[in-house]
Symmetry: D2
Subunit: 352 residues, 4 copies
């Protein structure tokens, strides 16, 4: 079997490292040929772990190399859009982590460039590839629960990130909720037209001092009349808590969390099991493999990618609408964000 | 042991029948002495079932009888307030089903009369006495889950009532949500200050034609900063679905539904159990006994009732705010309802 | 409505008290007219609680009273058979708690007397009337899980009774396992032909000193080829643990325990719920009502009782076989017990 | 990082293929250098899938190659012992699938040879490395459930293998139960001294015609007084069903099955989830990686292997005792098998 297409990884921290490991061992149709990180030593260490021959501290080396067919952009958020545009100009297929940009104008410009270049562009909504959420998606598509009417999404992190991270994260809505906005669209198969947000600082006052919130409840209305809630918290002490529930005319479907083991202990204090998997890399292992496999397949078969730049864009619009609803204390329609785009963007990077 | 205090039941349908049975067999400290129903034959049949000696088709007979110490008002909703006031004048202790009145002015007048009369006045929020919700209440009070931050309430009926019933029900918010509004306050131990509603007709278009909604999602903000959602539907085909979930700083607590049996069948199509209990009288059997027992105890010990007229009033205010939010498509503060009381009441009975 | 048939309760402790309460409040077709207990004061207290007019310290008063149609025999185990025979002679219908007798000879004589008298005779296998086990029974009868092949019964008490009780209990097999032997027959719908026992003292050495075991695992083979295990322990610290599981050709069915509430707490130590219901009177409340209701119905309709004296007899034979298997360390066929009856009985009360 | 030790795989079907994939991608400390299969084309196909450079149809090529440090013996059962002995003579470390031999004499001879050669010898009891069973093991070791007293193991395959496979499998006890015998010892941390078996043909009469049983219930008694049951079936239509439960003085621990997703569907027929994982390779993926990783680690660190040849031997002794108990219809002590070894072996391959 051939080694598959040559891929360069740009950004080797956290999720970049996950993709590196998967490319090395779990995705036979692709080969990780180059690891790029602004920290050259870090790039070398990562390359050493996974038998990657080449490293660089400059992503332009990846773009200039004609043997590289695709790049995985896992660098810091503020570089996603610019690298994507340059990669598109260089004719590379692109897998881009979230968000594409915190600025809608830059995001739109990026999508235009990518589109003109005719390269594949997939964004990293890995949860679409998770067995639990896929099962819900199938139940809705197949009619197993009839016509959906109510949706609930719970998405809580085990613990807040550092305040430094919070400051550059774009805020809860762009950093956390964005995955749930995509999940909402993916599951219901319709667009959200309006969002209402109630949010606050319940976990750590320093998050509030950094201009962000750590706890939010959002209500969304879809074009097809479905109504939903999205619950986000930076802290669920019992572990990563990511569940959905959909009520339809013929039934409901709900997902539970995943656990490291299925053992139940009963003693005189109660009946208990260990906490859910509390690290997203353990929880979503298979989905990270599946999303990049799907990206590579789309390249090999010249087929559409399963998660498009437009998907990445709409989730950002939803995040901006959610933030605006919170600021203005009223329901905000997505088309307001589009119309008032310029003003919003100026605020978007700072208000949360 | 003495037979306990003499009680008259006013209204012998549905919930009235439940109370009659419980008074006859399960609440030794009270004796059902008189059954009143506008349908004299129905009153006689009910009395026959439970060995009650006297029946009447006029509630004033109960009020005029000095041996009767307390009345349970289970008659049609539009009579609750007037009978309560007359019972108070007659010095009877009062257990009143929900809502006290759909009109806030009449409700306030009723509470004033009752208060002046110095009689006990308890409203029928039976779910406070259910083992599941009590357990959640205790977890929050005891600090078991730390400081609460997010609340979810799901409350779905198995099937919608008749359209005739819908027409006189006061609408989804006064007929169904009112129980969840009280549950929200009971669990969090704080008042709601603001409500935002998204609602629609998803179950039966005739409900919409009758001026009501059948599906609603409400978001509430409490004075202590907790944020919550309330999910109501007139139809969950799998049965009565009433659950709550609270996230706190030290953990979460969530309730599952109750089932008639704990058997699990595994076959080649999946692993399944029978549907939840789908009739509220089966699901809440014990809570109906407990609430009336508590009422009788409060009389016997001359102690405060566990659910006050003010509790009944606030839930109506919340229902009016939820309805107003739906009409005006914006978050509505509860103090707006209080201020604009008069105008609201004129609309309240008709808009939903 | 008439008060139903007149019933006398003989023996007012523990289970007798449960039946008294149920007859007073939950079984409209019967009236508890007389409470008999050798402790006259205890009889009076019980009668006072449930408005029973008459008490006695001599069961013969119940047998002599022509207005009494049925007796519930809840007195000490060693009196069950003699009172049953006298009641039969007096023409009373009989509901008898377990076991009918620890002596198979006396048991057979008793069944003969009862049979000749033509009165109803029901034994107290209440678990047949429990919703969980009825559901399993139905699954097997209806073919929902196909042809059964393997059965497991777990039946563990929360804590051992007093050593004094142990001494007169007849031993674990006659005191505890007897219910599971009946459950096995009830569920599989066939007779057990052979039993093999491994047992020991794991809970309290004083139980061993009293000549009994506190932990046992039994294997049974049914005439239809089904094989099963029965797990008994005098102590499950987490509460009453009574479950069954049946594997069939088309699937399996298993029951979980019952809980006082359905709340789940998640914190940084795990995900837990409160312990199962740990008192048999709470756990089996409904089944005690149902079994006596069924007995009364059988009298009123002159229909066969749902649990016969023969059912009570076979469970005793199985207990004797289980004890013999434990003593002789080999599988024992039930027909060996029947053949060697006399010798066995002499040992039965003391050997284990 | 170095490529790790060179390993040869002997036998490329089913489990061999699993090990090949894991060595290729998941176990960085080992390198699969040679694939041996008597079917040369099959060896080539497997090698091609996982980038293995060399193939052979003769395991002696692996033994003769000084660069090969270890062999994984996954060939047909009847070759395990002979290849193990030759590999030991050649100084190769050995990972051997189960059973080492169906003949206790040959097994003992093999262990003697391996022992004299001083090579590592690990047997493939992968379930010891599964998260569920490890969790139970830890609960017992740590005292979390106190002193154990009762054990239950359920181990059911989704469907029987071909009759051809059955014929050479050594029978249910050596083919299936052997894993559960090891699990029993692993969990309880003591040896079994006696086994009693009830077994039959419930799944397919052709299995009986082939001289085997397809359904068995075994009872075991450990030297420390713990009593346990082992439930085996060749068919659980709902999928692979492998659970354990242990009752201890301070509580119990039980494992549930693993599922491909955590979604729950509720509709008017019930509340259900999809069937458990029903293919052992999916169910035990991680345990297969962990056991071979542990083997490689033991070589690299020159430490004892976690599952020894003696472990493999005792499980065979238990299988022989279980079979003898079935034949002779009585409890059989393990030391009977040891004493009567010779006669038993002659029967072992054919009698059941």
């Amino acid at each position: 079997m051939p080694d598959g297409i040559n891929v360069a990884l740009i950004g080797g921290e956290r999720i970049g490292r996950v993709h590196a490991q998967n490319l090395a061992h779990r995705i036979p149709s692709a080969k990780l040929s180059l690891v790029v990180d602004t920290d050259f030593d870090a790039a070398q260490r990562l390359a050493g772990l996974f038998d990657v021959g080449r490293v660089s501290n400059d992503y332009r080396e990846a773009l200039a190399d004609p043997s590289i067919e695709a790049v995985l952009i896992c660098s810091s958020t503020d570089t996603h859009a610019a690298i994507s545009r340059q990669a598109a100009h260089a004719g590379k297929h692109i897998f881009c982590e979230l968000p594409i940009s915190q600025s809608l104008a830059e995001l739109d410009e990026t999508l235009r460039v990518v589109d003109n270049a005719g390269v594949k562009f997939q964004v990293g909504f890995n949860r679409r590839f998770d067995a639990n959420f896929k099962r819900v998606h199938e139940a809705i598509r197949s009619g197993e629960i009839g016509e959906p009417s109510l949706l609930h999404i719970v998405s809580r992190d085990p613990a807040p990130p550092s305040i430094d991270y919070i400051r550059t994260s774009g805020g809860l809505f762009l950093d956390v909720s964005i995955h749930d906005f995509d999940m909402a669209r993916y599951l219901i198969g319709a667009e959200v037209e309006e969002i209402f947000t109630m949010a606050g600082v319940r976990v750590d006052p320093r998050i509030g001092q950094a201009g962000d919130v750590d706890t939010a409840l959002m209500m969304v209305r879809f074009t097809n009349g479905v109504i939903g809630s999205i619950d986000n918290s930076r802290r669920a002490v019992y572990g990563l808590d990511q569940r959905v529930e959909v009520l339809g005319s013929a039934g409901s479907i709900a997902t539970l969390n995943n656990y490291a083991n299925q053992a139940i202990v009963s003693d005189n204090t109660g009946v208990r099991r260990d906490v859910p998997l509390n690290f997203f890399m353990d929880r979503y292992t298979d989905s990270f493999i599946a999303e990049v496999s799907a990206f590579v397949d789309a390249i090999l078969r010249d087929a559409p990618v399963p998660v498009s730049g437009e998907d990445g864009r709409i989730s950002v619009v939803m995040a901006l609408a959610a933030a605006q609803s919170h600021r203005e204390h009223r329901p905000v329609r997505l088309d307001e964000v589009l119309v008032e785009r310029k003003g919003l963007q100026e605020r978007a990077g700072s208000a949360f």
